[in-house]
Amino acid sequence: MANIISDETIEYVGILAKLELSDAEKEQAKSDMGKMLDYIDKLGELDTEGVEPMSHVFPVQNVFREDTVTNGDTREELLANAPEQKDGMFVVPKTFA
């Protein structure tokens, strides 16, 4: 494996992803991420000089909708997914001190 992921990096990625990893999981993730980066390096070996970056797999562009209200109130269905609700809203852990 050419790419070695440091403990600091895996710690930081864990924070960004809001994941708490056990030591064993961290080791596994370090190895997996290293392999992924190796694979990206492999792709990087290809000569792409003069090739336009692809932004979409289908040759389709300009798909629009008109500015007309088509949706109604489906709050009940939406909140059916909420682990906890109050006053028609989702309850989440406090986000602001």
């Binding site: 960004l16 992803a17 809001k18 932004s55 979409h56 797999v57 289908f58 389709v60 562009q61 300009n62 798909v63 629009f64 909708r65 008109e66 500015d67 007309t68 209200v69 088509t70 949706n71 109130d73 489906t74 709050r75 939406l78 909140l79 109050k86 006053d87 028609g88 809203m89 989702f90 309850v91 989440v92 852990p93 406090k94 986000t95 602001f96």
Partner: protein, 477 residues
């Protein structure tokens, strides 16, 4: 000797677009609905749902770009900005990083010194707004309302070209006016339909490198922006003077306390792990599309000012004030179209409207009386159905509640008494009750008649035509 410092400011301005529906789904954007009643699988990030771009959002973004001298990107696309927060149900915000819709523009502002300066616009991109978090005071939790999730925004990123709070305000006012004239947004800072984040750094005067900058959020008024700029400039200079370093971070301004505090260290762009959104197809902007939007661009302020002068012949000062707000200009034009009396409409706006706005601290964008009702009020005074002081009274009620002046005058019995018999009777009574004034008048004291007019008006509860009263008094005396 104390060192001299220069403040360097760039702005990120978010503007909520005035579309009927959200950027990627057919949910309403109407303000003030019950929480979560304007949501669907797309704007709440349900797996398998697919976003489709609202054409109006693209057209508004291009029209703002054209009006701010930007280059329109001919091949644009959307990217995902990844972050985890409860206001963002998809765990990414759909935005534009690599190919934003507009680039390299700028607007001219007038500086304090009386000169003109161009503030560069780095780019304008389209993106979706996040949901609203409400912090529950009683329980240790937050509540999420996704009605705002997916409301279309454009973010206008300036170059770091501003050097003072005055320049920042001038730039924001210019942007606001352009966008309001385009009808792309009402741009209300208080209500959040226009939000400005201030990126600020200081450096020693004459330095060529920029200092480390901070980003300030939660600025809800021009006053708050000015105070935050002053506060942050001082804080950064203090840090530098005491040998400390400015940390690159996002700070939240507390306008009540007049100070800011760090929210979080600014995540690097790469931490958002941007990548092209595969759910949305690219946008190819044709010459034809640009030509169509250009053709539909409204009359901007300078053109309007010229036309008002030629068409309506009202004073330059009035034109200046009226066209400074699209909303006021709209009221002026609509009322004038109905009553055909530009000077009278302008007078009501320039005198009573400005007076009440100041007295009641009402922003011009929040003026509530309709042009129809203003035209009716003018018609009532023209027909001498009410006198000018009653008209002012009625206008004050219109200003607050937009009442129909015809109905209001009828209901409150404010119509001028044109029954000459009844008026003559009152005048006779007043003459009989004030022999001293009558004598003064006969002795050549012209002023005495003013007192008698006043007494008559009082007896008539203001519902008489003072000119008629005056004439009648002279007759009877």
């Amino acid at each position: 000797m104390a060192k001299e410092y220069e403040t360097v400011i760039g702005l990120e301005v978010h503007v909520e677009l005035a579309t009927k529906t959200k950027i990627f789904c057919g949910c309403s954007t109407a303000f003030g609905a019950e929480p979560n009643t304007q949501t669907c699988p797309v704007c709440t990030g349900m797996p398998g749902s697919l976003p489709v771009l609202n054409r109006q959002v693209l057209e508004y973004a291009i029209s703002v770009g054209l009006a701010t001298n930007c280059d329109i990107t001919r091949y644009a696309k959307f990217d995902r900005k990844n972050y985890f927060y409860p206001d963002n149900p998809q765990n990414y915000q759909i935005s534009q990083l690599y190919l934003p819709i507009c680039k390299n523009g700028g607007v001219e502002i007038e500086t304090e010194a009386g000169g003109v300066k161009t503030v560069g616009i780095h780019e304008i991109h389209m993106e979706e707004d996040a949901g609203k978090l409400i912090h529950d005071e009683w329980e240790d939790c937050s509540l999420v309302d996704y009605n705002r999730s997916g409301v279309p925004l454009i973010e206008i990123v300036s170059e770091p070209d501003m050097r003072s709070a005055e320049e920042v305000i001038a730039y924001l006012e210019k942007l606001r006016l352009i966008i309001q004239y385009l009808g792309a947004s009402d741009c209300k800072l208080q209500e959040g339909s226009m939000r400005a984040d201030v990126n600020l750094s200081v450096r020693e005067a004459g330095a060529t490198e920029f200092g480390t900058r901070t980003e300030m959020k939660n600025l809800n008024s021009f006053k708050a922006i000015s105070r935050a700029i002053a506060g942050e400039t001082e804080r950064q200079i203090d840090l530098i003077e005491s040998g400390e370093k400015v940390v690159q971070e996002t700070r939240r301004w507390d306008d009540a306390k007049g100070e800011s505090y760090a929210m979080r260290s600014k995540e690097d762009a790469q931490d958002y792990r941007y990548f092209p959104d595969p759910d949305l197809v690219p946008i190819a902007v044709s010459d034809e599309m640009i030509a169509q939007i250009k053709a539909r661009q409204p009359e901007f302020r300078t053109e309007k000012m010229k036309r008002y002068k030629e068409e309506f012949g009202i004073p330059d000062y009035d034109i200046e004030i009226i066209t400074a707000s699209k909303h006021m200009a709209d009221i002026f034009e609509a009322a004038t179209a109905i009553c055909g009396q530009p000077k009278k409409v302008s007078n009501w706006l320039m005198v009573e409207t400005l007076r009440l706005m100041k007295e009641k601290e009402v922003d011009v964008e929040d003026l509530r009386f309709s042009p129809e009702n203003l035209a009716k009020l003018i018609a009532l005074t023209d027909a001498k159905a009410i006198n000018s002081s009653v008209a002012k009274e009625v206008f004050e009620v219109m200003f607050e509640e937009n009442v129909d002046p015809e109905k209001y005058v009828e209901e409150k019995g404010l119509k001028t008494v044109n029954d000459e018999g009844a008026l003559r009777k009152t005048v006779e009574e007043v003459i009989a009750a004030n022999p001293q004034s009558v004598e003064d008048y006969h002795n050549g004291k012209e002023k005495a008649i003013g007192f008698l007019v006043g007494q008559t008006m009082k007896a008539m509860k203001g519902k008489a035509d003072p000119a008629l009263v005056n004439r009648m008094l002279k007759e009877l005396l």
